[in-house]
């Protein structure tokens, strides 16, 4: 089959792409690192250098469609070589248009400046005891039961509680949020193509966060919400409370699915790569290397999206204003031009591994990345401390070499729907 003859699969809706997005990207790669899709009016960027170039060029590429995706036509007819004003005028037409992940320019710089203080090493260090104790509790119960379903039984409540503790969300509200998030549809659902991203959980939590922030403004404490409630923008002005509500809810919600999936994806590699589990048990300092390689091979976000707001270029290719682009993080992270011929293989301590773009690059780099790394490391350590052997259930997922897994039905998220483990104390 040549690049010219195969029928292009639909990245946004085809269940076979969901199961193996990497196969789809390899199928598309011969068309070049930047190629026009036949199924949608947008460009697919699968090259590493090209993805980095776009992510580091916020002047020419708006993030407004980063959640809504490139699957839908623009809600206006682009006019001229600079459509920045048209884009801003249609912000309210976009899912997540009021969330920091879609902001551009000074508005983004201002809100991002608040976030830059949230997940610093000293903050995370202060949270480490909670992570370790809570992870320990969850793993202990799982080991006592002989096994667990990792993604929903352990990973999701764990990451919810960690970020709730970090922000200072009252204990009694945490389970309410967890239930609401669990009941909601995944972001970028392929099962609901007309409305793939549902904001109802974010709206539900907004009312609670408004109350917390109002209370912290009156009586600031030492938690993150208090800091958020009192920090000024870089120019000295104070953010509006609604802006802070949006930011706090986003920080709470954004890390849920992605961090939980990172734990699931990591565990799958730990068990299925021959010898890796023992290697990590023998030398825990390898855990960060494991995480980076899993992030490269199986990061929790497959793609983000941008709109060219000025006539620009990617490499030498002219890109007119109004062009939507899929920045395929998962494809870039396996680009053989960047990673070599073994790009699809798991390799601990791969040279230059930290330069993968699982968390993006540039001004919109995932602010929660340090938290994700810290919390997944903490719980993996607990699994190794409290078990002598971890196995993936052959009954649920098949034998090694012939595993079958279910993945979140999302064109954004890459992660297991469930992972059944057997644990030996």
């Amino acid at each position: 089959m040549t690049a010219q003859t195969f029928k292009e699969r639909d990245y946004f809706t085809d269940p076979t792409v969901l199961l193996d997005p990497y196969g789809y990207f390899e199928e598309m790669r011969p068309r070049g690192p930047v190629c026009q899709l036949e199924t949608h009016d947008c460009l697919l960027i699968s090259g590493f250098e090209e993805c980095v170039e776009v992510l580091r060029n916020p002047a020419d590429f708006s993030s407004l469609n980063s959640l809504a995706s490139s699957a839908f036509p623009l809600p206006f007819k682009p006019e001229g070589s600079d459509i920045s004003e048209q884009i801003e005028a249609h912000r309210d037409k976009y899912v997540g248009g009021d969330l920091v992940v879609t902001f551009d320019d000074a508005h983004h710089t201002n809100v991002r400046s608040l976030m830059s203080r949230m997940f610093t090493p000293s903050r995370l260090k202060a949270n480490e005891v909670f992570m370790r104790d809570y992870a320990g509790e969850l793993v202990r119960a799982a080991v006592a039961g002989g096994g667990c379903e990792l993604v929903n039984q352990i990973a999701t409540p764990y990451v919810t509680m960690v970020v709730a503790d970090l922000l200072g969300v009252p204990a009694e509200d945490r389970t309410r949020f967890e239930e609401k998030i669990a009941a909601g549809q995944t972001v970028g659902s392929i099962e609901n193509p007309d409305a793939p991203t549902d904001m109802s959980a974010v709206e539900f939590m907004g009312a609670y966060f408004y109350g917390y922030l109002e209370e912290r403004m009156a009586n600031p404490g030492t938690d993150l919400l208090s800091e958020l409630a009192t920090l000024p923008y870089p120019d000295g002005t104070k953010p509006d409370i609604l802006e802070l509500v949006g930011l706090a809810v986003f920080m709470f919600a954004a890390g849920q699915d992605t961090s939980a999936k990172l734990l699931g994806n990591s565990m799958r590699y730990i068990v299925d790569v021959p010898g890796l589990q023992q290697q990590l048990r023998d030398d825990r300092t390898l855990i960060p290397w494991l995480l980076e390689e899993v992030l490269r091979l199986e990061g929790s976000s497959k793609a983000t999206h941008r709109i060219a707001r000025r006539d620009t270029k990617i490499g030498d290719r002219p890109v007119p204003a109004g062009t939507q682009v899929i920045v395929a993080l998962a494809a870039a992270n396996r680009d053989p031009r960047r990673w070599g011929d073994d790009a699809n293989e798991f390799k601990l301590k791969r040279p230059g591994i930290k330069q993968h773009i699982a968390f993006g690059r540039g001004s919109h780099t995932c602010a929660g990345a340090p938290l994700a790394r810290a919390e997944v490391t903490a719980i993996l350590n607990q699994f190794f401390d409290q078990t002598s052997d971890i196995r993936i259930s052959a009954e649920k997922h098949g034998k090694p070499g012939a595993r079958h897994y279910k993945f979140e039905p999302s064109f954004i998220i890459r992660g297991l729907e469930n992972l059944y483990l057997e644990l030996t104390p």
């Binding site: 580091r56 916020p58 002047a59 090493p121 000293s122 923008y233 870089p234 120019d235 995932c366 340090p370």
Partner: protein
């Protein structure tokens, strides 16, 4: 417009306009200087935006906090005038500041 002068690893110098409120890291990456990886995006978590500041400008900058100090301590190329560019928020009166990008830690 006020600007800062940044020297990349090949010795090439660029004059970059100051947009008050942005960090030096943002200014350098927005100017398309690829040497500054800034992998964590400005979270004071990775030390890949390590720069050297011209000595007489050091006192004009916001003081170093513990996280930045700890990260720089892990660099093989730390000098007395080392800073992380993501921790330096630019103001108009930083006009003329000179910085050079430190070698990459492996």
């Amino acid at each position: 417009m006020p600007h800062v002068h940044v020297t990349d690893r090949s010795g090439e110098e660029s004059a970059i306009d100051i947009r008050p409120g942005t960090t030096l890291m943002q200014a350098i990456t927005d100017a398309g200087i690829a040497d500054l990886l800034a992998l964590c995006g400005g979270q004071c978590s990775c030390a890949t935006c390590h720069v050297y500041i011209q000595d007489d400008a050091l006192a004009e900058l916001s003081p170093m906090e513990q996280d930045e100090d700890d990260l720089l301590a892990c660099s093989s190329y730390r000098k007395a005038n080392s800073r992380l560019a993501c921790q330096l928020r630019l103001r108009d009166d930083h006009d003329g500041l000179r910085a050079s990008i430190a070698p990459e830690d492996l």
